[in-house]
């Protein structure tokens, strides 16, 4: 408990130092950067009335975050629905793994900004294009971790399947799947983090309502304090998502 309190206080000090640096920079170096106080004053309306809808691009931060989260949930679901079976397939078959390894290595480092125009050409609408981009960018950790998990199923467990003469389906549900689950969840956590990174880029380019879209819109409207509000929101939400997935993962490992 004492270390818990200590850590909490220390992190408060860290946040305080950052705010200090921010205030210093906005006051002395970058005059266009709103100070923490100004940011708060101008963002207050959006924070204390988070669900208000005053216009398409003028909505409370809670509502904007919700739009983004729904979009991420869709894209992320798509990513794990494609990524998990793909991971099992590649993990189970060294032949397929060797076949697709170069393809994966090439597709993996492609930025969401590069995928999005392709999505727009393919789907001609911003929403499916955004989902396409999120799924395509965020599925790789799921694929790779699931693959790794399948490959590292201990020989002991495969022997158990052999000597108990389990059917292929039972071997999958009773042995391969539970043995791979912790790896899968590590993949899911990383994928979700990536999906959240991609959402901002996708919304910026497509101009759809959400934290990213709002950020870009306020940049164009020269309301810089709202940009900072969005940045902070993105950080806090991303952190929370990661923590939640981390907790789910820890539970799984303990079980």
């Amino acid at each position: 408990m004492r270390t818990y309190v200590k850590n909490f206080l220390l992190s408060l000090v860290g946040i305080g130092l950052l705010l200090g640096l921010w205030a210093f920079l906005s006051g002395n170096v970058a005059k266009d950067l709103p100070s923490p106080l100004k940011t708060w004053q101008e963002s207050k309306l959006y924070v204390v009335q988070p669900w208000d809808k005053r216009g398409e691009m003028d909505q409370g931060i809670g509502r904007m975050t919700f739009y983004s989260l729904v979009r991420v949930a869709k894209g992320f679901s798509l990513a794990i629905l494609i990524g998990t079976p793909l991971g099992f397939l590649l993990g189970g078959s060294p032949l397929l793994a060797r076949m697709f390894d170069p393809v994966m290595q090439v597709l993996r480092p492609i930025s969401p900004l590069a995928w999005l125009p392709l999505g727009l050409i393919l789907f001609r609408q911003s929403e499916p294009a955004a989902l396409f981009t999120i799924a395509l960018c965020s599925m790789w950790p799921t694929v790779i971790n699931t693959m790794q998990g399948v490959r590292s199923i201990p020989q002991d467990y495969t022997n158990v399947a052999k000597v108990l003469r389990l059917s292929p389906w039972k071997q999958f549900t009773k042995i391969s799947l539970p043995a791979t689950l912790p790896y899968m969840f590590t993949g899911y956590r990383l994928s979700l983090g990536l999906a959240w990174l991609v959402i901002v880029a996708a919304e910026m380019l497509t101009g759809t309502p959400g934290v990213g879209g709002f950020l870009w819109q306020e940049y164009n409207s020269l309301i810089y304090s709202h940009i900072l509000l969005c940045i902070l929101t993105i950080g806090v939400v991303g952190f929370t998502l990661d923590r939640l997935m981390g907790m789910a993962e820890a539970r799984l490992r303990a079980a």
Binding site: R165, K174, P178
Partner: protein
């Protein structure tokens, strides 16, 4: 032809010869122990008999049928328990029952699993996961899983190797009890590095060893029948003359003597009863 029958089985890993010309005959209902030092090829031999590893040459039959995969009527206990950590003790045992008796109702399968957990004294711990059980308890679950499928053939691959001495003694007695109680009696092939364990449990002891300076492949080299009455208490090993004699003999065979080995007759089969017979499998 004996129930379990190995003819001229050899195995190499790369250029290393592990087993050479192994002949083995085990009668139905017999409990045979193969004793050997670590890295003598015991586990490889067991895996070959159980159809988990294919030999380079030679034939294996069980009940007259050639062994190609793990036999339907067999079960096995591994040294490292090999329980599935995400299932409870009951679920682990039940998984085996389910695939051995798929025609049974779910209730009957569960009862069967429960019955064998009770037999190894773990009825109360049936809901616990392997991670919550001690090593001895885990191995009991593994033994329950092996017996619950009512096997005709039971393979035991150093089943007590990972247990401390005290736990080892109790679980050994439990295993002996289960084997005695089973009807019809299973044919048991056990691998161990403990001569005492072999004397306590088996009807016949075979020694697996490498000949000259450990460079050659291992061969099975002799049969010592153990005719001691059952149940056999652990202190028997200290006082009983036959036990002492067998131990001296097997230990001697394992530790010494390439010279002795050369004198053995080639091509002899293993005798099930009678005076100790020297057997060689060259």
């Amino acid at each position: 032809m004996a129930f379990i029958d190995l003819r001229e089985v050899s195995k190499e890993y790369g250029s290393r010869r592990v087993l050479a010309n192994i002949n083995l005959a085990v009668e139905e209902g017999e409990f045979v122990c193969i004793v050997g030092a670590s890295a003598s090829g015991k586990t490889t031999l067991m895996k070959i008999v159980a159809g988990l590893v294919a030999p380079d040459s030679g034939s294996i039959t069980i009940g007259g049928q050639a062994v190609t995969g793990f036999p339907r009527t067999a079960s096995i206990v591994f040294q490292n328990y090999s329980l599935l950590p995400w299932f409870s003790a009951l679920e682990n045992v039940r998984l085996g029952v389910e695939s051995a008796f798929p025609e049974w109702s779910g209730v009957k399968q569960k009862d069967q699993a429960m019955k064998y957990l009770d037999l190894v004294g773990l009825g109360n711990a049936h809901a616990k996961r392997p991670g919550q059980l001690s090593g001895g308890m885990r191995q009991r679950v593994a033994i329950a899983r092996a017996f619950a499928v009512e096997p005709q053939v039971l393979f035991l691959d150093e089943p007590f190797g990972a247990l401390d001495a005290l736990t080892r003694a109790t679980v050994q007695q439990e295993l002996a009890r289960l084997c005695e109680a089973q009807k019809p009696k299973a044919t048991v092939l056990m691998i161990t590095n403990s001569v005492d364990e072999a004397i306590l449990l088996s009807d016949r002891i075979l020694a697996l060893r490498r000949r000259v300076s450990g460079k050659d492949a291992a061969t099975l080299s002799m049969a010592a029948p153990v005719t001691l009455e059952r149940p056999r208490a652990a202190d028997l090993l200290m006082h009983n003359e036959e036990a002492v004699r067998i131990r001296a003999r097997v230990t001697d065979l394992l530790t010494s003597g390439a010279a002795k080995n050369r004198a053995e007759r080639p091509g002899a089969t293993l005798a099930a009863t009678g005076a100790p017979v020297e057997v060689c499998s060259e």
